[in-house]
């Protein structure tokens, strides 16, 4: 079987798996990274969001072959050692989750936005996160957390 090479959380990896296989299964089964969740299997809920070259994609609908040569970032790669990423820290400080199942995808989607635009307005955050579902209703706190993280990431006041 052909191998696919890409960068995963900053490190090069080679995966011997069908290139048509959806990335989420490769991450969860082959690479043991179970922080990426499966919520709907159809790219409708955002729980499986990972970043490919810093763009959020639903990994349940992204074939492995599509990430060849690219940089994939999952929730496991966001903290630097024990130092949480500013978005993770803000989620902790705002208690911006309940069951936590949407949280990895939510944090990555927010990080992708803030990385490009830490000054993102509330309306821009809402627009960007609207495809990420949260059933527990942590939305208000997530918005507050993302705005706070943006400030820390250089958005200023």
């Amino acid at each position: 079987m052909a191998t696919t090479s890409f960068t995963l959380n900053g490190k090069p990896v080679q995966v011997a798996s069908d290139r048509d296989r959806m990335l989420v299964w490769v991450l969860r089964q082959e690479l043991g990274l179970t922080g990426t969740k499966v919520g709907c299997g159809a790219g409708l809920c955002g729980a499986c969001t990972v970043l490919v070259d810093l763009e959020p994609v639903p990994s349940c609908s992204t074939p492995l072959g599509d990430v060849a040569g690219k940089a994939v970032l999952t929730i496991e790669g966001l903290a630097q050692g024990t130092a949480l990423n500013p978005v993770q820290r803000a989620f902790v400080e705002h208690n911006a989750f309940q069951c936590g199942f949407c949280t990895p995808g939510m944090i990555l989607a927010a990080y992708a936005l803030l990385k490009k635009k830490p000054t993102a307005t509330r309306a821009e955050i809402i627009e960007r996160l609207d495809g990420n579902l949260c059933r527990c209703g942590a939305h208000m706190r997530i918005l507050d957390a993302v705005a706070a993280a943006g400030k820390e990431m250089g958005g200023g006041l």
Binding site: R21, M22, W25, R28, Q29, G32, L33, T34, G35, T36, K37, V38, G39, C40, G41, A42, L44, C45, A47, T74, I75, E76, L78, A79, L84, Q88, F91, V92, N95, F97, Q98, C99, G100, F101, C102, T103, P104, I107, I125, I126, E127, L129, D130, N132, L133, C134, R135, C136, G137, A138, H139, M140, R141, I142, L143
Partner: protein, 696 residues
Amino acid sequence: MRRRAFLQSAGLGALVLWFRVEAQAAPLAAPRPGEYPADVNAYLRIGADGRVGCAVGKVELGQGNMTALAQLVAEELEVGPDQVDMLMGDTDLCPWDRATGGSLSLWQFGPVLRGAAAEARAALLDLAARKLQAPAGDLEMREGAIWVKGAPARRATFGELVQGQRLERRLEPVQPKPLSACTVIGRSAPRKDALVKVTGTAQYAGDLNLPGTLHACVLRPPAHGLTLTSVDTAGAERLPGVRAVRDGSLVAVLHEQPDAARRALEQVKAEWGGAEPGVDSQSIYRHLVADGPQLKVAAGKGDLAAGEARSAEVVEGEYRNAYVGHATLEPHTAVARWESGRMTVWASTQAPFRIRTDVAQALGLEARQVRVITPYVGGGFGGKLVGPDAVEAARLARLVPGRPVQLAWGRQEDFFLDTFRPAAVIKLRSGLGKDGYVTFWDYQVYGIDQNEAEFAYDFPATRYLATGSSGGTPGLHPFQTGAWRAPGSHTNAFARESHLDRMAAKARLDPLTFRLRHATDQRLIRLLRTAADAFGYDPAPAPTGRGIGLACGAWRGTLVVTMAQAAVDKGTGRIRVERVLEALDLGLVVNPDGARQQVEGAITMALGYSLAEEVRFQGGRILDLNFDNYRIPLFSWLPRIDVVLADNPDLPPQGLGEPPVVAVGPALANAVFDAVGARVCQLPMTPERVLEALKG
């Protein structure tokens, strides 16, 4: 859980307390005789490492009980909640519990856990007094150590105190601290599950990746009501690595990769027989009224006829509510392994002990041969009180001894097999006297029971007619229904509070005054005023054009008043919710920020059942099977949300998981009426229904 097993697992050098949650703690269903163990319901352990452990059968679904329960223990033992290790939902290691539901975690465990921790405190002080040779009254306890006041060098840690001891105590009543002395209870505590959840390391049932795991996909009928007549798995079995298995009507394909198993299932050919139910999303309401059992008087008082005779006006209404899905973001998932005569099941469940019983019964095992372990659960809302996934996984695991079998329902399965909140119809007839007071209240409910239909309003004559079966009427609904966050109560509150609003408008009274004049309960009166003040409500009879609505609700001992403001687009029928405020009296608030999280979350979730969520179906076919058709609340729906928690610490915690969803629907319906003068009597208030109501 056998006490001996727990003590063995506790090891030497430990102080162990066990205690009992009283059986009158109203559980989800009446306890069967002998079901509550004469034994104990929770354990507290202080280990040689000085850490405090607490084992309860409850589970953490996201609602934050792990943190609040730890706070109760931490308070008496003068440690931070982070120093309390909660062990939850493991049927081998935790004492029996019915289920995590009904907003019961703190209601049941609040007073008991505080008492137990107070007893542990007394026991530790007793040990320290002997070791430090000082009277217990001269000792100080903080951060896991005890020392002599004024002589901090004379100290011992919890670990040193229990070292080499093997202490077991049965809880005797010890008075917990007065609330005025509490430093942990009543203060917001960081969630104990925060770090694992933001780093992706929190383990859910589907995340175990046990070596040798086989992933299962189960054959499902295309519609409810159908049964398997023939099946051909040859096509699936030709695929590499696929194994097809069958246990009675349970047919599944197994593969080491979940996606390969899913593909293999597509190759299974099956034929189905039997008849689908003959109803659909439109005809269901007529069906519920016409085809249900005879209603019986469930409650009531006074003379209805006399009340009607005194009425200046009789108001009639019919209110409807739809089937709604739980749609937890984590679908039902279970992993089961059959090994050495024991079945171990890791399950995303609200009821690990019920699943233990279900699995044991399905497989003809003794309960002690089954262990259910509950990792983190990705939402429940009542949908995970039942666990057919766990039973299916266990049945399949039995067929492949030694191999873990993982069954993660796909989203379509999760919708198809969900125990929906039941649809319902409520017919209400009431009278208004010349004096602007309600004269009688005649309430008939079809499809659900009268749960929380009665409320703290004082009407002179009432009658509540219902089927009287709290679990729903078997066979009436075309598919399974079940508990959905505050079961029945939002539907009943929708009818009651909508109808009351219509009466207030007829009496030309504002919604607040009309409710206040029928409220006798002092907590409710206080809460109504608190909500109105906090909202900045200027009372005026509806419709005012402002789009402000008010509604009340209750769940067990917790009272809620919801105020909402909404704008209605008369052209499209779209409702834009601008603001929701809730005031709640839940008694003692253990973790104020945790409580706010629950209320904010419930308000946000309730926008769904109020405005959009409705499971559409045609016969036995569920038409909404994923999030493209079944729309749940999004960031862009979010109104301003305010939460007011009444100060009532003398009342023990009354529970909060459910009450804040109860009155959102009616508050919004009343807001719509106040905005445009149109009364929507059916939830969800879709644009079509709003337009219909606008036509009059």
